[in-house]
Symmetry: C2
Subunit: 342 residues, 2 copies
Amino acid sequence: MATNSHINPNIKRKKEALNVEQLFNELQSGQVSALSRAITLVESKASGDSAFAKAVLQQALPYSGTSFRLGITGVPGVGKSTFIESLGRQLIARGKKVAVLAIDPSSNISRGSILGDKTRMEELVKSDQAFIRPSPAGTTLGGVARKTREAIILCEAAGYDFIIVETVGVGQSETAVHSMTDFFLLLKLAGAGDDLQGIKRGIMEMADAIIINKADGNNQIAAKHACREFKNAVHLMPDKDHGWPTQVLTCSGLNNVGIKEVIEEIENYTAHSKANKSFIKKRHIQELYWFHQTVEDAITSNFYNRQEVISKLAVLEKEVLSKKKSPFDAASELLGLWSFKK
Amino acid sequence: MATNSHINPNIKRKKEALNVEQLFNELQSGQVSALSRAITLVESKASGDSAFAKAVLQQALPYSGTSFRLGITGVPGVGKSTFIESLGRQLIARGKKVAVLAIDPSSNISRGSILGDKTRMEELVKSDQAFIRPSPAGTTLGGVARKTREAIILCEAAGYDFIIVETVGVGQSETAVHSMTDFFLLLKLAGAGDDLQGIKRGIMEMADAIIINKADGNNQIAAKHACREFKNAVHLMPDKDHGWPTQVLTCSGLNNVGIKEVIEEIENYTAHSKANKSFIKKRHIQELYWFHQTVEDAITSNFYNRQEVISKLAVLEKEVLSKKKSPFDAASELLGLWSFKK
């Protein structure tokens, strides 16, 4: 570290500029190792890497936005890897380049709980038309989501035209995936506790399609029953803003049955949403969402993370609960102490 | 105004202190005019009134929290006033003192759209055990909600032990009412476009009870049918945190039929939630929600309302949508310009 400070800063800057240029050219020409390195830079916590990562992203940005972005969620055991393997292979057969990313804020603990075990996607891993990347490490969903969102940009600049973002639905991770994808797919199991009763709040409203997986062998009758039940439930839900009724299908990722129909539904959706302009509208809303969300998160965390605020907050919370102060008085007392300054 | 500045400030302060004391004593002794004046103070935008309002609230705070707080929502025409009239009368017959407040952020335009026409609650208006107050004027939901929440505190200090907060469900007003009440009741009509298909997002999950109103005359069969449909839909919903399954009932506010059963359900809920401590837990969550919400709203509006930020934001939003900058870069550029200072 100490020796670096003696290097002529102009030389150093020139070297970095060269590297950014070189890395980006390699990435854009389809070199998987360059894409991997660029994503590693984006994920890096080392302070020196952040300017570099930003420069690469800046170069990638004009080439991004061209892919179809598919979000997939489902509980562990629902067969996500097998489904993605099967879906990915069919997409590649149709001439697509497929990237598979993941959001799992719990991955620090359960390290590699999703996409970590790449052996489950045997063929996809071997294909030179597929790129698979496990969830970045991170403690906060915001951080993990941001890195995944930036990885999407890099993958698109590298020519991947079908991006799959997977999550296991820890905390708010489904909302994060939903807000960075064009189509949100909920994978379900018939019976096995993963039925309609156990569905997470709000998830039905986010889903553009619900796919009952493992509709094979003895499970076929149960899958058909679950399909009917979900169709009824979906029918009871209010219409979405973009006017696309949530589709319910069954499939078997294992036997490669029903995957073609899923792709057709995605194609139908794309045609529908591009025709009524809801596709681009949704993208714009997502861009501004991430912009505002980042601003608001930073403002509030900047405020809440100050030691003085933390101490004061604890005192005020007690006073609110013991009715010494109203929530509004406590808030204005807290805010009276600080203000935004340039 | 000019003459006021010549008054000895000590005398003036003493006079105000006396007034606060006097107003609060009158309020607490059950004088309706004092309660009305106190709420008017809370609603006032005149800068001189705010210290006075705060002082009265401060006195009221230790006596608050003792009532049952019932939230009611439903589209215009669902019969809210008639339902509240019927419910209020039965509650008074059971020895309750009933206050009816309203949240309607649109009331600036449609001035008095709810509770304004008090003639619909003929008997309740005449009863000395009931207090009815239309929605405060205001342009933002936050402001209107805050005033209503403070009015609850004043009503409780004045001895009202059953507070009804009504809304027509404009924007996020249902969420606001839900977060300041113990029990949230959704009033529906059979047929007439107010059926399951047209239900607003998220509202089913907030409701502790769904009441099909106007189950009278020719409408009884349709009401029973809607009741069955809602029961099915509720059955498909996930369980709530507090373990209370959403109840579905029919009633006729007009004919006073089924209201007793609604009161019984509220009593069942109270017993259930007090036994498993979810009642007090919910109250505490609500107190801290209002505290944190107020802090965060103030921080972000403090930031977003600055002329410099407004100009910069508009430029950055364009750059994000034209892919010149990523949402994250745009955010850090905006935030780099300002910080919180003491």
